[in-house]
Amino acid sequence: MTTMSPDAGLTKQRETLLRLYRETARGRALEDVVNQLAQTRTFRGFFHPGRGQEGLQAAVCTALNVDDYLLYAHRGLTYLTAKGMDPVSILGDFHGRLAGSTRGLGAGTVHCVDPARGIMGQGGTLGSCFPLSAGLALASKTKGEGKVAAAFFGEGASARGTFLESGVTAKAWGLPVVWICENNGWAVSARVQDVQGTADIAPRAAALGFHTQVVDGQDVLAVHEAAIEAIRQARGGVPAFIEAKTERIEGHFTGDMQPYRDRDEVAAAKTRDPLLLAGQRLVELGEDTAVLDDIREQARAEMNAADEAARTSPLPDGTRIHEGVWA
């Protein structure tokens, strides 16, 4: 690594931060559209708001190459936009229309897919990302493609048995997997300590020999740096793990009022909003607030336009259910 003058370092940091701010803002703007769709009952399925976790998703996904594999999680949408997916095809899925990435079959976030950008989908059963990411990483390694396979999951899902089975194998085979645990402390209504007897997930990856980092998930720069290092390790054949301590600001799904959760805790979480924090940091670094306002405005405009395009796409008809079972 070359050394930089303090000034160059700060400029670079500001550039990175701006990029992460933009991706965080884009993800949030997209979710705002989805919330709107949910409120107007245009979208009536389940949506798991990512508010509070957009920053870390942006920070990791912007560190990936376009052809690196991504298995995203259910909490929000920033994984997808930050990895380069077209918001029209994401929103097309929410509208259940042919513009969606699943051509009208899906409706909602769960199965958005974009293989050209390495976005290989999501399972409806938590923890299924572990063996799948190991398999994708194995394919990349076998073919000498140099791609990593990144998989996101919550701390709840990190208790699934697939974590262990895939972890020992990834280590034994030196697979380029990057596993990112979004530890928001809650799995629906269950507090992690209560059901797992610990608040810390990283030790279980370290025990298997993964390269392991624990990072403040609300600090986009810290997460971004951790991601770069994890990806470097993985490309070198050491499976890597990041535990990002984060905050679930909203309920588990849209409409969940979180009665099981302390109000003060939620209030405290709100103060750790990653977009807010990144914005403050940028201002500290001398960025003009107008620039930030503009970024957010652009993001909103982009997502509104995408929604317009998606909602006017045709609906599938009943025969659609029979397409795609077989290759």
Binding site: R44, F46, L105, T125
Partner: protein
């Protein structure tokens, strides 16, 4: 807990409440069954009433939920485990297909596993391929497991209570489309619905429909329409698949000579196959028409809510199938 109509969901809640009250060995375990009262609200109030030791939240650990229930049952408790969706029961493959079904038998028949797994099934709400299935067929092909498939609030309560008191492992499939359906439910805590006793939901002459769970209501609706065309439909609800009450089915088919089996699970190798096969053997001489099956389509369930209706039998399809059958 009066005799006035309550929902299928509350009927389940009451059954749990009463049985926990009756027997201190009964306890609940599953994701969000505790303070939250279940993601569908089925266990509301039970955590407050019985405490965290008897209403136990778990992490995302389906193997532990089912396998832990097996162990707890062997240790003398009577677990009622919940998976959030019936599809997730398949995740605990070893624990459900092997441990729960076979542990007793493998060990010479001297151990006892009184346990229930509650499995919310059915297509509703755009939850997609892994949250919409009715996998009762997979378990009917697994000797050692009893299976309940209630279609009404009264049966939901009475069968769950029987399941909890049964010394065998039981999978209790509750259909999410029925949760808000209301019906009269007895408040008598000793009124059980026995396993293995089907029920004639509607008396008719011309065609027998065998249906359970949420398909019973669809069958009843179709029967009303057909009645206007003077086609008289008899509807048999087996209520449990294991044990299966073939006698009630036979009695009906002996009368009508025509059989339609109706279910929500996908057609091929679905539970209708077993019933049709038994009819083709045991009732051969009584049949005046081909045995028909109407069932879910042979594809995973799409997440798009608008497409769900195409994936399981709708009333008009039932009507036209029965109409054709009646012509024989």
């Amino acid at each position: 807990m009066s005799d006035k109509p309550i929902t299928y969901a509350w009927a389940i809640n009451h059954a749990l409440d009463e049985e926990m009250q009756r027997d201190p060995d009964v306890f609940l375990m599953g994701q969000d069954v505790g303070r939250m009262g279940g993601v569908f609200g089925l266990t509301r109030g039970l955590h407050d009433k019985f405490g965290g030791e008897r209403v136990r939240d778990v992490s995302i650990v389906e193997h532990l939920v089912v396998g832990g229930a097996v162990g707890a049952a062997l240790g003398g408790l009577r677990p009622v485990a919940e998976v959030q969706f019936a599809d997730f029961l398949l995740l605990a493959g070893d624990e459900s297909f092997h441990k729960m079904a076979k542990w007793r038998y493998m060990h010479g028949g001297i151990l006892t596993l009184p346990m229930v797994v509650r499995a919310p099934c059915g297509i509703q709400g755009g939850v997609g391929a892994e949250h919409s299935q009715s996998p009762e067929g997979h378990y009917w092909h697994t000797p050692g497991i009893k299976i309940a498939v209630p279609s009404t609030p009264a049966d939901a309560k009475g069968l769950l209570k029987s399941a909890i008191r049964d010394d065998n492992p039981v999978i209790y499939f509750e259909n999410r489309r029925l949760y808000r359906v209301k019906g009269e439910v007895s408040a008598d805590p000793e009124l059980l619905v026995p396993f293995g006793q089907g029920k004639v939901r509607r008396v008719g002459r011309d065609v027998t429909i065998v249906a359970w769970s949420a398909m019973v209501d669809a069958a009843l609706e179709a029967a009303e329409i057909l009645e206007r065309e003077e086609i008289s439909v008899e509807i048999v609800d087996p209520r449990t698949l294991v044990p299966f009450d073939m006698e009630t089915v036979s009695t009906s088919v002996r009368k009508t000579s025509r059989l339609l089996v109706l279910h929500e699970a996908s057609l091929t190798m679905g539970p209708g196959a077993e019933i049709a096969a038994r009819a083709a053997d045991e009732l051969f001489e009584h049949l005046d028409a081909p045995v028909k099956r109407l069932a879910g389509t042979d594809n995973p369930i799409p997440q798009n809510m608008a497409l769900e209706q195409f994936c399981y039998p709708q009333t008009d399809q039932i009507v036209s199938t029965v109409r054709d059958l009646a012509k024989w």
